[in-house]
Amino acid sequence: MSDSADTGIKMVMAYIRPDKLGDVKQALAEAGAPSLTVTNVSGRGSQPAKKGQWRGEEYTVDLHQKVKIECVVADIPAADVVDAIQEGANTGEPGDGKIFTLPVESAHQIRTGTTGPDAV
């Protein structure tokens, strides 16, 4: 079997501020990688915890609402996608998020049955 990296397919997975999703979508479209999947998620990183109030009692909110973006590319360099997300999601404040790039072992388009980079 070939090594998974040989497919040349990458998944760029990013966690961003919900209000930066529009900017990121725009930047991805300009970079030529408009296809993406988004999910509402909660998580914590460098952003400080917030205080919540319920009936005069304080509680800690240390999981912040974020949007997770998954963007799988074959023809476009993953680095370009990362740059586009970085550009769209940056505010300079703690809590802007993280971007990870992962190798993808295979791709398969459900409608046509196409496999490999063409399926992306």
């Binding site: 919540g52 109030q53 319920w54 009936r55 005069g56 009692e57 304080e58 509680y59």
Partner: protein, 470 residues
């Protein structure tokens, strides 16, 4: 000369007044969805169905019980505590002309009953709650009405009222309905016990945030809308017939109750907003919503009796007291009153009604003030004692609380077998030969375990093909 088209003024007045009473009765009924939303928003998503079931049972069981038993108990208690007769106590059952009046009374009874559910949310056994709501509408609330509006103990002709030379003033039920419900809720919340996790090992309260501020505030507005029926509608006479047959429109009386109701709720909301901003640093929507309701409760007994500025002060006082009264309930009394019904309905009702003579349009009267204080105390004492006895009996019979496991899982699943916010519901039915419900299929590739968590000897991991270990 009598002309064929001449109208009898009494018939006209009766027609108009009864249509008005029916209309506001339907408005008061609309407070029920208000309570359902208000309470649902303040509990966690796993208990919303149980809150809804309680609110519905209050209404449909309460009306049945109040027709057959409760309304008659009002007459019995009213007669026995004033030296009057009790022969006609249950006459409403066979008198069609009494049925509009009965329904008008019934919507107040169901308001008192439904207040309790907000205090005991998220841990009370549903059977126990249903039994309590039946006794509440059959006896506990009707006795209070008998003492007051029913012409009994506290009214001008009752034993205490005639001794003090006054009649107890509670126009639309700030104490008769709201304080009675609020105190019954406090007693029930105390006896059921706090929700799991509400207090830490040191006895300090831990917040359990509700799942939707939106529902709570929307419910508050719906309640306030229905409240216009509650207060303004209790001015049931729109057209009055004079001795000479002349008709008088009671515009000033209606105007006063409508205005004081509005100013009371507004002052209550404003004061609670300011208090919460002072206490928490920011104006809080839930406190503000509670304060608006407390303002309404505070003026409910007072609306026709007080000046407009007196009503605003009473409402403001009710709104101001919500936060400290709730903290006192939770931190000092250690009672887990989930929706703050004692602060909103109990404290505001007591204070607003006791202080009516201070702001009375007709001036201050000492004996009236004394009766107001005594009346509040009598109603409170009766409600505490009666609720406690009933709850002890119910506890012995069916138990007041759900199990700890059920509380953790949620009462929607445990008491009713439902999920109010389901996810991943199958959208088609199919015949399947593969168990997808966890029967033999183990998607985690783990070992089969017995109910108590101990691993069995024959691990089945790998059967499902998802085990990727080399």
């Amino acid at each position: 000369m009598v002309t064929p088209l001449q109208l009898d003024p009494t018939t006209v007045a009766n027609g108009v007044n009864n249509v008005w009473v029916l209309t506001i009765t339907f408005l008061i009924f609309f407070m029920q969805p208000g309570f359902a939303l208000l309470e649902s928003g303040q509990v966690r998503a796993k208990n919303v169905g149980n809150v809804l079931m309680k609110n519905m049972s209050d209404w449909f069981l309460g009306t049945l019980v109040y027709f057959v038993v409760g309304a008659g108990v009002v007459g019995v208690v009213g007669g026995l505590t004033s030296g009057g007769g009790i022969a006609g106590a249950f006459a409403h059952i066979s008198d069609p002309n009494a049925w509009i009046g009965w329904l008008f009374g019934a919507v107040f009874a169901m308001t008192a009953a439904t207040i309790v559910s907000g205090a005991v949310a998220e841990r009370m056994n549903f059977d126990a709650y249903v039994l309590f709501t039946i006794v509440m509408t059959a006896i506990i609330y009707p006795v209070v009405v008998g003492f007051t509006w029913g012409g009994g103990l506290l009214s001008a002709g009752g034993f205490i009222g005639s001794a003090l030379g006054a009649g107890y003033l509670d126009f639309a039920g700030a104490t008769v309905v709201h304080m009675c419900g609020g105190i019954a809720g406090l007693v029930a919340a105390k006896l059921v016990g706090a929700r799991k996790g509400r207090y830490d090992a040191n006895g300090n309260s831990q917040p359990i945030p509700g799942h939707s501020m939106l529902l709570a505030v929307l419910g508050t507005f719906i309640l306030a809308f229905g409240w216009y029926g509650f207060n303004v509608g209790t001015q049931a006479t729109v057209l009055a017939v004079g001795d000479d047959g002349s008709l008088t429109f009671m515009g000033a009386a209606l105007g006063r109750v409508a205005l004081v109701t509005t100013l009371g709720m507004s002052a209550g909301g404003a004061m609670a907003m300011l208090t919460s901003a002072r206490y928490q640093g920011k104006p809080d929507p839930l406190w503000t919503a509670n304060g608006l309701l407390a303002g309404l409760v505070a003026v409910t007994g007072a609306v026709p009796h007080v000046t407009w500025w007196g009503g605003a002060l009473l409402g403001g006082l009710g709104g101001f007291l919500v936060l400290p009264a709730f903290r006192f309930t939770v931190d000092t009394l250690k009672v887990d009153d989930v929706c703050g019904v004692f602060a909103v309905h109990g404290v505001a009702g007591a204070v607003g009604t006791a202080l009516i003579p201070i702001f009375a349009v007709g001036g201050f009267a000492v004996n009236q003030f004394a009766l107001q204080v005594v009346g509040v105390a009598v109603i409170a004492l009766w409600t505490v004692v009666a609720s406690a006895i009933v709850l002890y009996v119910i506890d012995a019979a069916v138990g007041l609380r759900v199990t700890e496991e059920e509380e953790t899982e949620g009462l929607d699943e445990g008491e009713h077998g439902v999920s109010v916010y389901p996810e991943f519901v199958p959208n088609e039915r199919r015949e399947s030969t593969v168990a997808t419900d966890g029967g033999e299929l183990r998607t985690d590739g783990g070992e089969r375990r017995t109910d108590d968590g101990a691993a069995l000897d024959d691990p089945v991991g790998g059967d499902t093909g998802v085990n990727s270990d080399e």
